[in-house]
C-alpha cells in the first residue's frame, strides 16, 4: 500500500516571490491545507499566527476563538476536530507545557490536530523573545504514557509553509496529533519565498467509514492500523474517551484488548514510518564529517559547511525535516561513511542523545550547544569542524 503525506504534487508550480515571516507562512499554509478552526492563547513568539488567523479565518467561513488558556485551546481543537473540521493551535514553551495532557488525549482518542510550538528559551518563562530548541524532547515525551506523536522541524520560511501543509496531511492520514516545531528566528525572520501554488498542493483527508453506522467500529484495527473516523452529527453515534478502550471506543479493563489497542497506536506510525520521516541531505555524499542539525541551527550549519568546503574539508549535513519519529535509520546509514558526527543545537543536547543512540558508539559524536538565547554563528560551527577535521 503506497501512502503519501507529501504536500506537493508538483514542486515546480510556484507563486510569485514575496516577503513573509515564518508565522505568516504557517498561518497561510494552515488555511490552504483546509484548517477551519483555530483556538489559542496569546504567547510570544507565536502570537502572529493567531493574529493572522483571526483576520483570515472568517473570510473563508472558518472560526477563530481566543480561549482562556492553552489547556482550553487544546481541548477546543480536539472538540472541533471531532466534528470533522481540521483544527489547530499555536503556542510557545509555557503554553506547550499546559497543552500536554490534552495532547495525550488526542493521541489516545486518535483525534487529528496540529499544534505549533514556536520554541523560545526555557525552562519556565525563560527567554520569551529569543530562539531555542529546548522542546525537542518535550514534543516527544511531554505527555504521560507511551503515546505516538509526530513532530516536524522546518528550517526556513518556505519550508514552514510546506511543513504546515504536511502536518495537516500527516495528522489526518494517521489520526495523530502533529507538533510543528518552529523557533523564534524561523517564526519572525522575513524571508523571500516562492510558495507553491494552491492547486499544486496535495491535501489529505482523514479516512472515512465505508460501513453503515450499525457496523461502525471507531477504533477497529485495519491494514494501516488507522481506523476510519466519522464526524459527529452524521449518523455515526459513538463514544470517545481518553480511558483505555476497545474497538467500539468504550472503556475496557481487558489486558489483551488494552495491549492490542496501545500497540496499534504505535504500529500505525511504524507502518507509515517511511512516509512520515523526511530528511534533507546537504553535501553529505562525500563527507567525512556529518552535521546533524535542524531548524535555525541548520541555517548556521549550512553556511559553516560552505566555508569549510572552501578550505577543503569534506563536511555535509543530514537535516531532519521530521524529528519525531526520529530518523535513526538515516543516521545509521550515513554513519558507516563518516569519521564523526557534529550535532549543533540550541539546547544542552536533546537530538544529540538520539543520534548517539542510533550511532551506538561506531563513530565519535561531538555536541555543540547554546542555551544563551543566541543563534549559532557559522564561525562557531566552522571552528568545531576544523577541530574535528
Amino acid at each position: 500500500m503506497t501512502r503519501s503525506s507529501r504536500p506537493l504534487n508538483d514542486p515546480n508550480r510556484r507563486r510569485p516571490p514575496r516577503l513573509l515571516t515564518g508565522n505568516e507562512a504557517c498561518a497561510m499554509a494552515a488555511i490552504d491545507a483546509g484548517m477551519r478552526f483555530y483556538a489559542g492563547y496569546p504567547i510570544t513568539p507565536s502570537s502572529e499566527i493567531a493574529e493572522s488567523l483571526a483576520r483570515w479565518l472568517p473570510t473563508v467561513g472558518g472560526v477563530f476563538i481566543a480561549m482562556e488558556d492553552e489547556i482550553a485551546s487544546m481541548g477546543a481543537i480536539i472538540g472541533a476536530s471531532l466534528t470533522g473540521v481540521k483544527s489547530m493551535t499555536a503556542t510557545s514553551g509555557p503554553g506547550f507545557s499546559l497543552m500536554q495532557e490534552n495532547i495525550g488525549y488526542a493521541s489516545m482518542a486518535e483525534v487529528p490536530v496540529v499544534v505549533v510550538n514556536v520554541m523560545r528559551g526555557g525552562p519556565s518563562t525563560g527567554l520569551p523573545t529569543s530562539p531555542a530548541q529546548g522542546d525537542v524532547m518535550q514534543a516527544r515525551w511531554g505527555t504521560h504514557g507511551d503515546h505516538p506523536v509526530v513532530a516536524l522541524a522546518p528550517y526556513s520560511v518556505e519550508e514552514t509553509y510546506e511543513a504546515t501543509v504536511r502536518a495537516f496531511n500527516l495528522s489526518e492520514q494517521y489520526r495523530v496529533p502533529v507538533i510543528l516545531l518552529l523557533d523564534e528566528v524561523i517564526a519572525h525572520v522575513n524571508e523571500k519565498v516562492e510558495l507553491p501554488e494552491r492547486e499544486a498542493l496535495r491535501i489529505v483527508e482523514r479516512p472515512k467509514p465505508e460501513v453503515p453506522p450499525s457496523q461502525y467500529l471507531p477504533y477497529v484495527d485495519t491494514p494501516t492500523g488507522v481506523p476510519p473516523m466519522a464526524p459527529f452529527g452524521t449518523g455515526y453515534r459513538y463514544h470517545v474517551t481518553g480511558l483505555a478502550h476497545d474497538e467500539t471506543g468504550f472503556q475496557t479493563n481487558d489486558p489483551k484488548v488494552i495491549d492490542a489497542q496501545l500497540r496499534r497506536l504505535h504500529r500505525k506510525l511504524e507502518l507509515g514510518r517511511h512516509d512520515i520521516v523526511e530528511v534533507d541531505e546537504f553535501l553529505i555524499q562525500d563527507a567525512e564529517i556529518g552535521i546533524f542539525a535542524y531548524g535555525s541551527s541548520a541555517r548556521s550549519a549550512r553556511r559553516a559547511i560552505r566555508l569549510a568546503r572552501e578550505k577543503g574539508i569534506r563536511v555535509g549535513m543530514l537535516r531532519p525535516k521530521t524529528i519525531w519519529p526520529f530518523p535513526d535509520e538515516e543516521v545509521r546509514a550515513w554513519t558507516g561513511r563518516l569519521k564523526a558526527w557534529l550535532v549543533p543545537e540550541m539546547n544542552l543536547g536533546q537530538a544529540a542523545h538520539e543520534v548517539e543512540w542510533a550511532v551506538a558508539g561506531r563513530v565519535p559524536i561531538r555536541r555543540l550547544n547554546r542555551v544563551d538565547g543566541n543563534l549559532f554563528h557559522p564561525s562557531e560551527i566552522l571552528r568545531a569542524i576544523e577541530e574535528m577535521a
Binding site: 473570510t59 480536539i78 452529527g233 481518553g242 480511558l243
Partner: protein, 274 residues
C-alpha cells in the same frame, strides 16, 4: 411508561454508580427532557469530564465524549463553534466543573456560548474516595477533611449568573420532575445554561457525615430546598441551612457562536464588495 431503553447503550450496563447514587435520577430526567423536545439523536452531543457524574455520557446513545478532568467545557466549546447545528449538553460534577474546570466554567458563561451544562453537585469527590470539593459544606467531613471542612464553599449558580450565563437554575434529585422542565428550558435557551442538580452521594458524603440512607438524604434535599419566592420572605437565620431551587436567573444576552456567524457574514460581504 417512558422508553428509556431506546436511548441507552445497554451493552455497557450495569452502571458503575453505587446503589442510592443520584446520578441515575439525573440521567433519566435528561432523557425525558431530550425526548420531550424531540431532538434528533444524531444531532445531540453529550460531553463530560472526569468523575462519577461524567461517566454518564457513555451510557447514552448520542455523539458522546468523555474528556479530560475539568475540560469538558473546552471540548464542548470547540464542538459548538465548529458545528453549531449540534445540541451540545455537558454533564459534569462539582469537582470537575468548579475546581479543576473553574476557569473554563467562568469563561464559557461569559461567552454565553449555547451549551447546556448539567452540573451534578454531590458535595464531594466520589470517584477518588470522598475527598472534599469546593462545594463541600463548611464543617462537613470528608476523607481529606477528617476534622470537618475548614474552607468556605462555592455558590456555583451565583458564579454562573455573575459570569453572564443566560439561564441558571437549581434543583435536586428529589425534585426530578422539576429537573425535566429546567433541563428542557436550558436546552431551549440560546446561550449558556446551567442546571445545578443537588444529588446524594450516600457512599462517600453520606457515610462520612452520618447522613443516613439514600432515601433519608433525598428527604434532606426536600426539607432544605426553598423557592426563591419563599426565600425572599425568610430571615438570614432561617436561610442558614437552606438553598434555593427553581429558575434563578434568566438573562438573554448575545450568544457566542451566533455573534461569530454575524462577524463571518459581515467580513465575507465586505470581501465580496472589493
Amino acid at each position: 411508561m417512558f422508553d428509556y431503553q431506546s436511548y441507552l447503550r445497554l451493552d455497557h450496563f450495569p452502571l458503575i454508580w453505587c446503589p442510592g447514587c443520584g446520578n441515575g435520577v439525573v440521567m433519566k430526567s435528561m432523557l425525558r427532557a431530550i425526548d420531550n423536545l424531540r431532538l434528533p439523536r444524531d444531532q445531540v452531543c453529550v460531553v463530560s469530564g472526569i468523575g462519577c457524574s461524567s461517566r454518564l455520557s457513555g451510557y447514552l446513545d448520542f455523539n458522546t465524549v468523555h474528556t479530560t478532568h475539568g475540560r469538558a467545557l473546552t471540548f464542548a466549546t470547540g464542538i459548538k463553534m465548529a458545528k453549531p447545528e449540534l445540541t451540545v449538553i455537558v454533564v459534569t460534577g462539582d469537582g470537575d466543573c468548579t475546581a479543576i474546570g473553574g476557569n473554563h466554567f467562568i469563561h464559557a458563561a461569559r461567552r454565553n456560548i449555547d451549551l447546556t451544562v448539567i452540573l451534578i453537585n454531590n458535595l464531594i469527590y466520589g470517584m477518588t474516595g470522598g475527598q472534599h470539593s469546593p462545594t463541600t459544606p463548611s464543617g462537613s467531613r470528608a476523607s481529606t477533611a477528617p476534622f470537618g471542612n475548614s474552607e468556605n464553599t462555592f455558590n456555583v449558580s451565583g458564579l454562573a449568573i455573575a459570569a453572564g450565563a443566560s439561564f441558571v437554575a437549581r434543583s435536586t434529585t428529589y425534585h426530578a420532575q422539576q429537573c425535566d422542565k429546567l433541563i428542557e428550558k436550558g436546552i431551549q435557551t440560546p446561550g449558556f445554561a446551567l442546571i445545578e442538580i443537588m444529588a446524594a452521594c450516600p457512599t462517600s458524603f453520606g457515610r462520612a457525615n452520618k447522613a443516613g440512607s439514600p432515601a433519608e438524604m433525598m428527604l434532606w434535599q426536600r426539607d432544605h430546598a426553598v423557592t426563591p419566592q419563599r426565600a425572599e420572605k425568610m430571615s438570614p437565620e432561617e436561610l442558614q441551612d437552606k438553598f434555593t431551587i427553581g429558575v434563578l436567573a434568566e438573562n438573554p444576552r448575545p450568544e457566542c457562536r451566533a455573534e461569530y456567524q454575524k462577524l463571518i457574514d459581515r467580513v465575507r460581504a465586505e470581501e465580496a464588495k472589493r
